[in-house]
Amino acid sequence: MPDINLTDWQILLVKLAIILTVVPIGALAGGYVLHKEMAHMQHRLGPMYAGGFHGWAQTLADGIKFIYKEDIIPAAADKRVFTLAPAIVFAPVLMLYLVIPIDRSLIIEDLDVGLFYLIAIGSVGVIGVLMAGWSSANKYALIGGLRAAAQLIAYELPIVLASAAIAMLAGTLSVVGIVEAQDWPFLVWPPGIGLALFVVFLAGAMAEMSLPPFDMPVAESELITGPFTEYSGMRFIFGFFFAEMAHMIAFAAIGATLFLGGYKPIVPWEPLENIPGVVWFFVKTAFMVFLLLWIRFTFPRLREDQLQKFAWKFLIPVSLALILVTGGWVLYA
């Protein structure tokens, strides 16, 4: 590797550039996968024309279309809050990517409290959602915003508890440290516990992102598009579609990192070590994306009260019990 000397500012710029290219591309790719996977699960073809080859440019074309659309702000809306909300939704999603280790040394900022940071930043987006819902001066938007807030409070806890259990297993909050601690991915070792933690984490993550089985905030049959009902054009795409995709990919990457061993081979076997960590990371992330979408296409939307019940009466007790079990495992195994 040639010796390149860069100032801190230059390094920061490069990092920013990487994030600002990787995230949109990832989101577009995620959107394409969404279209295609859903279509084929329903015996359809999905987009086939845009870009020439199997509609690869469909999401790009959609994005360009949205950029050209008119940006409408309702007269009754609280204009400043209304315009700021999509940025507040989208920015934390970008910030999630800061601490995700693509390879052992390929990480933008290896924070000592990486896991804590992930959880904290991941919840900021809901403030933007609430802002959008409140400022739109629209009852559907308001209901959607409030639902999103209630949902975040309910599902933040299982995520935090599951992550706490992971931190206990790894003995560190550093994301790289967590990956390094996984000789076998946490998913399979400690047996049972890891799998249960994974399920809890998955449910919580999907609820936090408002992905379909838990997409009550944007339930289109009841609330049109929930907090984003009044949005159009760029604001809509960034606040809603783009952010959702980027968020999903970020959580897929986090899930791959925490439970599937991140950039390490799936099993500790010598020949597999030759495959670069980047490949492992992307394969695992892709699998997670596929899994999240698969779950998303399978299950129908819950009712609002079912959602709350599921969180408070099932997921949270289970994750508390899992912390207990994990503690026992850490102490005695």
């Binding site: 699960m41 329903q42 359809r44 698969w294 296409f297 399978t298």
Partner: protein, 472 residues
């Protein structure tokens, strides 16, 4: 049972344990992810549509008679038809000028059309068809209004109609025989052709009234004979009488058909026949002989006897024709009058043995009739009955006269019949009889059917209650 089965199945489905249903659902989707897609990339590949796909509606312009049925039935009002009348010169010298509709515009606005196909269904002349073409999208909505030229172009893709199912009725296409019948109607009739078609007539003439009840089968099929059916018009109607009187095979044929009715109804067919005979010009001579309580005599089937002396409608026809010619009427007029006369004569015969109670909505009618001494009712009812077949039979104009004639005879018949069965009294006491009488009177006056029925019912009601009506 069903419920428990369902429950069992549900429980079995749950057996593996909590959460496995979710995995099952996901497995289904995963399985389907690898199945072949069913999408047809339309403009690139085309579906193999069934041959009679309902794509667009085609117009066979020659067949359209501008009857406007399609335009009127169209729920979207998307059919536009313009036409004008064209006067054709008379076929024969001195004849009437004919008028004909000429189609000027026939357009379907496919921007409005909802492809319900009612117009195709309703078209009586096979002018509209479904075509399997469906690619006629336009950039301008106005282009979606297809004028008749474009609609006719679609005819190219219309398939010939499918073959009839085995055992299906042969459609009423105008056959050569029918055509000849038509010409025959003009005057000289070739007996050979008409006979097959009209042979049914005599039988029908006598049996027709009964058709609805006892003997629908014998009369029906003959009626639907192609020739006759096609010639349902007034003209064709007039032909039957000659055979009716000439062939006169009725005695043999009809007896079995009619008897059951008589038995059941206990009504006096004879009287009616006789009445008919009177109308046709026979004296009361017959009436005297035939006046017997019918309940006793059902099997004799003497109707033909009553008919025999009837003036041959054909003779009437000829006579009137000659009269008219002598008077110097134009041939058309003479012919028409002669036909009317013949139809009347024929109708007289046919009015025959009809116990009206057969069709009466009043359930108690037959029994009442029996109690009241049958003769009373049937007489007046003979008239209304005769009207039933009338609409298909011919010139409506003939109707009022006839109806007028009937009740008079009915009246004439009355005294005699009352004598025979004193129980009926004046008939005034029996509400049923009153009903019949008022009905007949109303019809004679030319009241419309609903009005006549209503008044008759009112009269019956009054009779039942014993109150006096406005008229009495």
């Amino acid at each position: 049972m069903v419920m428990t089965d369902q429950k069992q199945r549900l429980e079995e489905a749950r057996k593996p344990g909590f959460g496995f249903g979710l995995l099952k659902g996901m497995a289904v989707l995963l399985k389907h992810l690898f199945k072949r897609t069913t999408t047809i990339q339309y403009p690139d590949e085309k579906q193999d549509l069934s041959p009679r796909t309902r794509g667009v509606i085609a117009l066979k312009e020659e067949n359209c008679t501008v009857c406007m049925l399609c335009a009127r039935e169209c729920p979207d009002w998307c059919i536009y038809i313009d036409s004008h009348k064209e006067t054709l010169p008379p076929k024969r010298e001195g004849g009437r000028q004919r008028k004909r509709n000429v189609l000027d515009r026939f357009a379907i606005d496919y921007a409005l059309c909802m492809y319900c196909g009612i117009c195709v269904e309703v078209c009586p002349y096979d002018a509209l068809f479904w075509s399997r073409e469906f690619e006629y999208a336009e950039y301008d909505i106005r282009e979606l209004t297809h004028e008749k030229e474009r609609l006719s172009d679609w005819m190219e893709s219309v398939l010939p109609p499918p073959p009839l199912e085995i055992g299906a009725d042969v459609p009423d296409e105008p056959t050569p025989a029918a055509a000849q019948t038509t010409t025959a109607a003009a005057g000289a009739r070739p007996a050979t052709q008409t006979s097959s078609a009209t042979a049914a007539r005599p039988a029908q003439a006598a049996a027709a009234p009964k058709a609805p009840t006892a003997a629908p089968t014998p009369a029906r099929p003959k009626e639907s004979e192609p020739g006759v059916a096609a010639e349902r018009g007034a003209v064709a109607k007039a032909e039957s009488p000659p055979e009716a009187s000439a062939a006169q095979p009725a005695p043999v044929d009809q007896a079995p058909a009619t008897t059951p009715v008589e038995e059941r109804e206990g009504a006096p067919p004879k009287e009616v026949t006789e009445e008919a005979a009177k109308e046709a010009g026979i004296g009361d001579v017959q009436a005297a002989t035939t006046q017997v309580p019918n309940v006793e005599v059902p099997h004799e089937a003497p109707r033909p006897v009553a008919l025999e002396p009837v003036e041959d409608p054909e003779a009437v026809y000829q006579q009137v024709l000659d009269d008219q010619r002598r008077k110097g009427s134009s041939p058309q007029v003479a012919e028409a009058r002669a036909k009317v006369a013949r139809v009347k004569a024929e109708r007289g015969i046919r009015r025959g043995p009809t116990p009206v109670e057969v069709d009466k909505p009043v359930p108690s009618a037959p029994t009442k009739a029996e109690q009241a001494g049958a003769p009373v009712e049937p007489t007046p009812s003979g008239a209304p009955k005769a009207e039933e077949p009338a609409p298909e039979q011919g010139p409506v104009a003939a109707r009022p006269e006839e109806a007028a004639a009937a009740p008079q005879e009915a009246g004439a018949a009355h005294p005699e019949t009352t004598e025979v069965s004193p129980s009926s009294g004046e008939g005034a006491e029996d509400p049923e009889a009153i009903y019949e009488r008022v009905l007949a009177e109303e019809r004679a006056k030319g009241s419309s059917e609903p009005v006549a029925t209503a008044r008759a019912k009112a009269a019956r009601m009054r009779a039942m209650k014993g109150t006096k009506g406005p008229g009495s």
